[in-house]
């Protein structure tokens, strides 16, 4: 593939990803805003792939190595921290996810005793 063709291909998937990103989270309850933010935060930790490629490729000078090394450290913190924090947030909801009975949903208080 020529450089031009590759670029057009990359732009194509970029644009598709924009639309997909908007579609995929169309309806989120407020309850999940923070965990979702934290989850997307973990996903952009994918820069670790870039950091590994920069640092790992041979034939480089000291400066590139140092920058790459720091980038690997930062990106791994992003990945691990991001997923762990998200899991901790969601763990809180796990134990009693609602067996919400219809009675709880109608919004009326139970009859006074």
């Amino acid at each position: 593939m020529s450089h031009g063709q590759l670029l057009v291909f990359e732009l194509t998937i970029l644009v598709l990803a924009i639309f997909l990103g908007f579609e995929v989270i169309s309806k989120v309850p407020t309850l999940l805003h923070t965990p979702l933010m934290s989850g997307t935060n973990a996903i952009h930790g994918i820069v670790i792939v870039g950091a590994i490629l920069v640092m790992g490729s041979g034939g480089k000078d000291t400066l590139t190595w140092v920058i790459g090394f720091v980038a690997v450290i930062l990106a791994s913190a992003n990945v691990v921290g991001g997923f762990v924090v998200t899991d901790r947030m969601l763990e809180m909801f796990k134990r009693r996810r609602p067996e919400r009975t219809p009675a709880d949903d109608d919004g009326n208080p139970p009859p006074p005793q």
Binding site: A17, I25, H33, T34, G50, L53, K60, S76
Partner: protein, 463 residues
């Protein structure tokens, strides 16, 4: 591993990320979604390490152990109340990594090839610029939430002009790079000016708006990651980064809608700058504040039919969620109906308060969202406001001059009695006066939320 194989496996990672986002937006599948995303990330890392051009495994492993170890320990140790600043911190380091990648790529490509291709140059400029802004901005957000620096907005005359000039300088350095400038100092200039802009950009924003800002910076980091994908000709970076960029932008809009504020207002409104009119109104409201003892409040609570607890950040800070639940249990034994009214932005992030109360084992059906809770206040005997302030401020409804005018609030002033547990009369996180405290229906119970609740538990037991 051949390029074809690795690209195919990267496609698997992309699919897991899409599923992760899909699952994360539903309560019953959210946790699974997070795990799916983590599995996809693991696959992407393994595939990248197996690429033939990657040779220095040990150094990479060392870096991953240091970074991953820090991330794991920090994320495990952090208290649930401090989650928002953790998200800011991890977002910032991700942005920093993206900026560093483009620096390394610039450094590596320029001397070898003689000149940079235009599209690669643009990608390098964008990821360095956005990544650096995201890094510095997130660090300021972290410092503000951690209260290392003042949470209140910091403003000075000519601020927008200074910000504009700094941003312009960063962009100028970036355009020079994209146009083929090969001097290394151009990159340093770009990174430094972008970082300074990131600091200046977040500094004037008040603490109450921080979640929206973090969400926006989160989307920024996604964009920076996508741009590094163009530098490295890597699909998984492009797609995953852009997915976060797009969904993060949408999430930012949803959050600001939950607070009924436009993004522009959040970013440039210098929230908390009390306009003279609002200040005047707060003063004119000013008058008597009734304070009560714990015994008085205990009696009110124990003999009420319906009590609604409105938790706010003060409850989280005091770690009083467990004590509040204990008090609620006690009241329920006495036949009082207890529920919790959760404002969408109670705490410091949307959904933050639900997490904290769930941690204290508060039964899920007792948690009422704002729309569900508001019609109930008129039928409520006592509202117990624990460390909440701005989300119950009637100025948001009544006073057009107020900085929070238009924000949907919990209409606690419709209840028979409002008991406000508060440390002192100081204005809240957003720095705005609250006329609720001067309402004749309101009594204040001053003191640390946890101490006050403990006293109330004792007094209710003694009745």
């Amino acid at each position: 591993m051949s390029r074809t194989t690795s690209d195919l496996l990267y496609l698997v990672t992309i699919v897991t990320f899409i599923l992760a986002l899909r699952f994360l937006s539903r309560p019953d599948t959210a946790r699974l979604g997070n795990w799916i995303g983590a599995a996809g990330m693991l696959l992407a890392i393994a595939v990248t390490l197996a690429k033939s051009e990657v040779v220095s495994y040990w150094e990479i492993a060392l870096g991953m152990v240091i970074g991953g170890g820090f991330g794991a320990i920090a994320a495990r140790r952090v208290k649930m109340t401090d989650m928002p600043q953790m998200v800011a911190l991890f977002n910032g380091v991700g942005g920093g990594a993206a900026a560093l990648i483009s620096w390394a790529e610039f450094h590596r490509k320029v001397p070898a090839s003689g000149n940079l291709k235009l599209d690669i140059g643009i990608a390098i400029m964008l990821s360095a610029l956005i990544g650096s802004i995201s890094f510095a901005g997130s660090m300021v957000a972290f410092a503000k939430l951690q209260e290392l620096i003042k949470g209140r907005p910091i403003t000075y005359p000519g601020q927008q002009l200074v910000n504009g000039l700094v941003f312009g300088a960063a962009v100028a350095a970036g355009i020079t790079i994209a146009a083929g400038g090969e001097e290394q100092w151009l990159m340093w200039g770009l990174l430094v000016f972008a970082a300074v802009f990131g600091v200046l950009f977040v500094l004037p924003i008040g603490g109450a708006d921080m979640p929206v800002v973090i969400s926006l910076l989160n989307a920024f980091t996604g964009l920076a990651a996508a741009a590094t994908g163009f530098e490295l000709e890597n699909n998984v970076l492009i797609v995953s980064g852009m997915l976060v960029g797009a969904s993060g932008t949408l999430l930012t809009l949803m959050m600001s809608r939950a607070m009924n504020r436009s993004i522009a207002n959040v970013l440039f409104g210098a929230f908390g700058q009390v306009s003279p009119a609002a200040a005047a109104s707060a003063e004119s409201v000013g008058g008597t504040v009734r304070s009560a003892s714990a015994e008085d409040v205990a009696v009110m609570l124990a003999y009420a039919h319906k009590v609604v607890v409105v938790p706010g950040y003060g409850l989280a800070v005091a770690q009083a969620q467990h004590d509040v639940r204990q008090l609620a249990d006690l009241l329920e034994e006495k036949g009082v109906e207890v529920s919790y009214a959760i404002h969408p932005v109670a705490g410091r992030m949307p959904g933050h308060m639900n997490v904290l109360l769930a941690e204290a084992n508060v039964p899920y059906p007792q948690l009422k969202e704002m729309d569900e809770a508001n019609p109930e206040f008129a039928r409520t005997d006592v509202v117990l406001v624990v460390g909440a302030n701005d989300v119950v401020n009637p100025d948001a409804r009544n006073n057009q001059g107020s900085a929070i005018y238009g924000m949907p609030i919990l209409n606690v002033d419709q209840a028979q009695t409002v008991v406000v547990l508060k440390r002192s009369m100081s204005p809240g996180f957003a720095g705005i006066e609250n006329p609720l405290f001067f309402n004749p229906k309101t009594v204040m119970l001053f003191g640390d939320a946890k101490d006050s609740i403990t006293k109330l538990i004792g007094d209710v037991k003694g009745l």
